[in-house]
């Protein structure tokens, strides 16, 4: 798309590219603005960029600086040290929490993508009319309150919740099943359910793009449906699978609501620990350090994942 736009802009008659512009040395800002497209573009963008800078870049820099400070009673000791990072590296609780967070979101990601793939496949290949209706139906719950959807799962999985009380009134079990709520499984189920739309959309887009004649060619050349799927459809939809994995894994590692409502002590994740540092424990520098460490881990895993999938794709091709 960007290339197409570039071409469009370059050849449009009313906006000659800057290189071919007649150089008028009036020195007036208005003329400069009128002539220089880049400048006008950035000027138009400037309010948006200003908000994003105030909201993202500056806070991140301050968060980074804060992570090198330490707490002194109710104040900060502003000498830069690696104390917090050393603590994160040496005390096992931090490593365990990080590993658990990454594990939970990893499992949730794989579950979501695996469960959503057939659905996206169905809409892309088997729905002929009202495709848009199906897509809206699938993505609609995603736009409703995340808090309420997680809360709904608490109602379902609770000790006296929907599943337990239904099973008891049916006479299938005597006492409520305790493992349903406050466990890693509860967190994984809820995350997989809540983030389904993030998997469906990229999967659908990549499946929809596949040239159907390739599938017919595979069939004509003697591939059965299974062989065709693994040799043509799946490899061609890999970009969608990769995008879906990223879109779910990265935000869920830092999730707060789901583990807080459904995790219990066993399902607590790094997001809850960060909140505790900024809340009850009141050790902001430590919270900042944990946020930075989480970001670094996410980046590292994302890079490794990209590298591995790229290598795998090269081998297939």
């Amino acid at each position: 798309m960007p290339e197409a736009l570039d071409r469009m802009t370059r050849f449009s008659p009313t906006h000659p590219p800057p290189g071919e512009m007649p150089r008028i040395k009036t020195g007036r800002i208005a003329t400069l603005l009128h002539r220089n497209e880049t400048l006008r573009g950035y000027l138009l963008m400037s309010p948006t960029l200003a908000i994003m800078t105030i909201g993202i870049i500056i806070p991140f820099i301050i968060l980074l600086v804060l992570s090198f400070w330490t707490r002194q009673g109710f104040e900060f000791d502003t000498t830069l040290t690696l104390t917090n990072y050393r603590r994160v590296a040496s005390e096992p609780i931090f490593g365990a929490l990080l590993a658990r967070s990454l594990w939970i979101s990893g499992v949730a990601t794989i579950t979501t993508v695996a469960l959503c793939y057939p659905m996206a496949y169905f809409v892309a290949f088997h729905v002929r009319r009202n495709k848009m209706m199906w897509l809206i139906l699938i993505t609609l719950p995603f736009w409703t309150s995340y808090l309420l959807r997680v809360f709904a799962w608490k109602v379902i999985l609770g000790y006296e919740g929907v599943i337990n009380s239904a099973l008891i009134s049916l006479g299938w079990i005597e006492a409520p099943l305790e493992f349903l709520l406050y466990s890693r499984e509860a967190v994984i189920i809820t995350l997989a359910h809540a983030w389904a739309a993030f998997a469906i959309l990229p999967l659908y887009v990549s499946l929809e793009k596949i040239d159907k004649s390739l599938l017919e060619a595979a069939t004509d050349l003697g591939d059965g449906p299974v062989a065709r799927f693994f040799r043509v459809t799946l490899p061609l939809s890999m970009p969608g699978v990769i995008a879906a994995c990223f879109l779910i894994f990265i935000p869920t590692t830092g999730d707060y609501i789901t583990p807080a409502l459904l995790g219990g002590p066993d399902g607590m994740m790094i997001g809850n620990f960060i909140q505790v540092q900024f809340g009850p424990v009141n050790n902001w520098p430590m919270g900042a350090t944990l946020s930075i460490v989480l970001m670094l881990w996410i980046c590292a895993i994302a890079l490794v994942f990209l590298f591995v999938t790229r290598k795998a794709q090269e081998r297939i091709a």
């Binding site: 909201g55 991140f60 301050i62 659905m119 809206i136 609609l140 309150s145 809360f151 990223f246 830092g254």
Partner: protein, 274 residues
């Protein structure tokens, strides 16, 4: 899968899977209104009978009303500002030769994929270092960061999709840039604008994690709901409140996606690229 099945043939097992998928997707959300009308303080089967008492109780609860109006105010402000900024950004991105355009779009889309808690604490640290007291204004700032990517993702395909020669024709016929925008560009991107307003309002109205860190003494509705979850005896009226939120937000979202339906598939591509 049978060996004889062909591309065009309907796949029975896949149809069943799709039906089950949709049921499971909607079931949790539908349970909330079911129990909101149940005549029992406990959220469990068997159902006891129909009642509207939880809604009546909710109606008489002043803090819930305050939180509701706070959320409406923040939501409207965020929707208008982020949509205006989205229009401006989308126009700049599509109409001018800007070096670093891809990097810019990636930058704007960043909040979509970074854990919200990190943005929340980062903004909290900035505001407290600057000595800004937490209030609905700080929540609004936080929500702007969350909503801007959605506004841009909804509007960008609209600006990319329409014929530029219309704008040029308007310019040739003597309209200046300002009137060209209002009389040609704006009507053509209008569906995207409506979609963006509705989406950003709903996102802000439902947003929890930013508000959790940035709220002062005035809670937004999700923060109020969160504070009530600790008390089991409040469960039924919270279920009533949740049903109302879902009842009003689902049609809003439906209209938003329907009106800006070009934006749906495009925006997912946009995020996939970033």
């Amino acid at each position: 899968m049978k060996a004889t099945s062909h591309l065009q043939r309907p796949n029975r097992s896949l149809q069943v899977y799709a039906a089950v998928f949709l049921v499971v997707l909607y079931l949790p959300v539908l349970l909330i209104p079911l129990f909101a009308f149940n005549d029992s303080i406990y959220v469990r089967f068997p159902l006891r009978g129909f009642t509207t008492q939880w809604f009546v109780e909710l109606w008489n609860r002043q803090p819930a009303w305050n939180a509701f109006w706070n959320s409406i105010r923040v939501g409207l402000t965020v929707a208008v500002i982020s949509t205006v900024l989205g229009i401006v950004a989308a126009k700049a991105i599509t109409r001018y030769r800007m070096p670093g355009r891809t990097a810019l779009v990636t930058f704007i889309m960043m909040p979509l994929v970074i854990p919200g808690i990190i943005f929340g604490v980062a903004l909290l640290v900035l505001l407290s270092r600057m000595g800004v007291p937490l209030s609905l204004y700080t929540v609004t700032l936080g929500h702007l960061i969350v909503c801007l990517p959605f506004a841009v993702a909804t509007l960008l395909p609209r600006f990319e999709g329409f014929d530029r020669s219309m704008e040029e024709a308007s310019a040739d016929l003597g309209e200046n840039g300002w009137w060209t925008f209002w009389r040609v560009t704006f009507p053509m991107v209008f569906p995207g604008v409506v979609a963006s307003l509705l989406l950003t309002f709903t996102i802000s109205f439902d947003e929890f994690i930013m508000a959790f860190f940035l709220t002062g003494t005035d809670p937004t509705l999700p923060i109020y709901i969160w504070s009530q979850l600790r008390f089991p005896q409040q469960f039924p009226s919270i279920l009533a409140l949740a049903s109302l939120v879902l009842f009003f937000s689902i049609p809003l979202i439906f209209v938003a996606i329907w009106v800006g339906r070009l934006g749906v598939s495009q925006s997912s591509e946009g995020t996939a690229e970033s």
